[in-house]
């Protein structure tokens, strides 16, 4: 399978802080690549660096064989990367419908069909179509944020801790949606919930202190008790 996105030895500074100090990994087309690591390891910053929100000071990000390291965020997004941030980034005073409308870059028949498909995937959104984003539950906000990133036929989705703060039943729904989206697109997932991560992840990249420690197949990590204990505090 071809490599869709390649992150090569990126370093990112935020203000005076040197946050990422050598993150590297690849996302292959059609796979779910999971970024793992403790709180504060640099997972969110890695996604933001890919999106150009906190651009890398050195290293390269390559998407579809093109360097995007220094590109503006809106170019990166319209090139086909959808972003579901850790805080979901819902526009609170806009309705569900409006949140999706802001995201939709086209409004032709294909786009409307796409919207129908996305709403089948997230039926709750249809139910709360006219409700303000700020009044949705945590799970509904997560669904809306994923739908919004997915609605433009993105080639790659970056999803940051979708299970955070959600009840187990809701997590199950979110997971099902991700499995469904995986059929259509490539996904980079940040996930602290290891059970969830290991169930839907194909590959993993372990980040610690702003650096890639190890990458490989998820099935290998599941069996590597040492790695899990040392970096994830489990096992």
């Amino acid at each position: 399978m071809s490599i869709l996105l390649k992150v090569d030895n990126i370093h990112t500074h935020i203000g005076q802080y040197h946050i990422l100090q050598g993150v590297s990994f690849e996302a292959k087309e059609g796979e779910v690549s999971v970024l793992l690591g403790r709180n504060g390891a640099g997972k969110t910053t890695t996604l933001k660096t890919i999106m150009g929100l906190t651009p890398a000071t050195s290293g390269t990000v390559t998407f579809l064989n093109e360097g995007i390291t220094k590109n503006a965020t809106h170019h990166i997004a319209s090139n086909g990367i959808g972003y579901v941030p850790e805080d979901q980034g819902i526009f609170g005073a806009l309705t569900v419908e409006e949140n999706l409308k802001v995201a939709m870059r086209k409004e032709d028949d294909a786009a409307r069909e796409r919207q129908e498909y996305v709403l089948e995937l997230f039926p709750d959104l249809k139910k709360y179509w006219k409700k303000e984003g700020g009044h949705l539950s945590g799970g509904q906000k997560q669904m809306l944020s994923m739908a919004r990133a997915f609605i433009n036929d993105s080639k790659l989705l970056l999803i940051d801790e979708p299970s955070k703060g959600l009840a187990p039943v809701v997590i199950e729904k979110v997971m099902e949606a991700i499995v469904e989206m995986k059929k259509q697109t490539t996904i980079i997932l940040v996930e602290q919930n290891f059970i969830m991560a290991s169930r839907i992840g194909d590959t993993y990249t372990l980040i610690d202190d702003g650096e890639t420690v190890q990458s490989g197949q998820m099935s290998e990590l599941v069996q590597n008790e040492e790695l899990k204990r040392q970096y994830l505090g489990i096992g």
Partner: protein
């Protein structure tokens, strides 16, 4: 009773003029996080160019359109030259826009001469209606109606169009808007130009109302507009209308009943609002 109605109409008319200035300011601040102290300069340019176009063509419609176009052009230049280099830095914004305000004022004197100009009211809008004992000055009513129309049009754009949605979303979360593939810098420019157009329209409408235009008029109104932005809630369009009306009415009634307080009343209003609702009457951040 006639007195009350007169004060009411005066207050509303002044309020609408302040609103035209504050509407741009609040969107520019809410969306772009830019403190624009040059906004009053655009108002004054609107006033002068309106008078100039009126003198040239004898058509008030042309005067208004000319003033709006002047505002749009100046808004474009200001955003590109003055604002773009200082995004994200409030101190620099205050310094450079205050400086530019002075430049705009001085340029008025260069272009139109150092003295104040007299502004005529178009014949169609001159005079007044008498309804019983109540005398309604036509031009003031005209200002109120124009203000309401502008509010309606912009409210429609903000609520019902894609660009309006993007602006509202941008006020709430700029990063996310960009992450959805939208070039927010482009949107900033449009909003700035729209704000400048409103300010210039305000100035052009102000001219016949006050009878004269002078370079410093922009600064005087800008201060009121800043107070309105704070009272209404930064970034809130309806908030700026409501607050502008409040400030206009308070000024009008105080000037009659307690003249000594007519200048202080705006500060008092702002202080009261800040004590009970520090975020302003409305919030746009959602």
């Amino acid at each position: 009773m006639e007195l009350i109605i007169n004060l009411l109409i005066n207050g509303l008319a002044t309020g609408m003029l302040i609103f035209l200035l504050a509407a741009g300011l609040t969107l520019i601040f809410g969306l772009m996080d830019v403190l624009n102290f040059a906004h009053g300069g655009l108002f004054a340019w609107g006033a002068f160019s309106g008078v100039w176009f009126y003198g040239l063509t004898n058509s008030f419609t042309v005067a208004i359109i000319g003033a709006i176009l002047t505002g749009i052009v100046l808004g474009f230049i200001t955003e590109k030259l003055i604002i773009t280099p200082v995004y994200g830095n409030h101190i620099q914004q205050i310094l450079i826009t205050l400086g530019f305000m002075i430049v705009l004022s001085e340029m008025l004197k260069v272009v139109f001469g150092p003295n104040q100009l007299a502004a005529k009211t178009p014949p169609l809008l001159s005079g007044s209606w008498e309804i019983g004992d109540v005398i309604i000055i036509k031009y003031r009513l005209f200002i109120i109606i124009v203000g309401l129309i502008v509010f309606g049009v912009f409210q429609f754009i903000l609520k019902r169009t894609k660009i309006g949605l993007i602006v509202r979303a941008g006020v709430m979360n700029k990063e996310m808007v960009q992450a959805l593939g939208i070039n927010i810098k482009q949107v900033f420019l449009y909003v700035f130009m729209a704000g400048a157009a409103l300010a210039a329209l305000g100035g052009a409408l102000m001219a016949p109302y006050s009878g004269v235009v002078y370079a410093e008029m922009g600064m005087e109104f800008a201060i009121l507009a800043f107070i309105v932005v704070v009272i209404g809630g930064m970034g809130s369009f309806p908030g700026s209308l409501l607050a502008a009306i409040l400030v206009g009415l308070a000024g009008s009634f105080m000037a009659y009943y307690v003249p000594a307080l007519s200048l202080a009343v705006n500060m008092m209003l702002m202080a009261i609002v800040l004590i009970f609702r520090p975020q302003g009457l409305f919030t746009a951040k959602g």
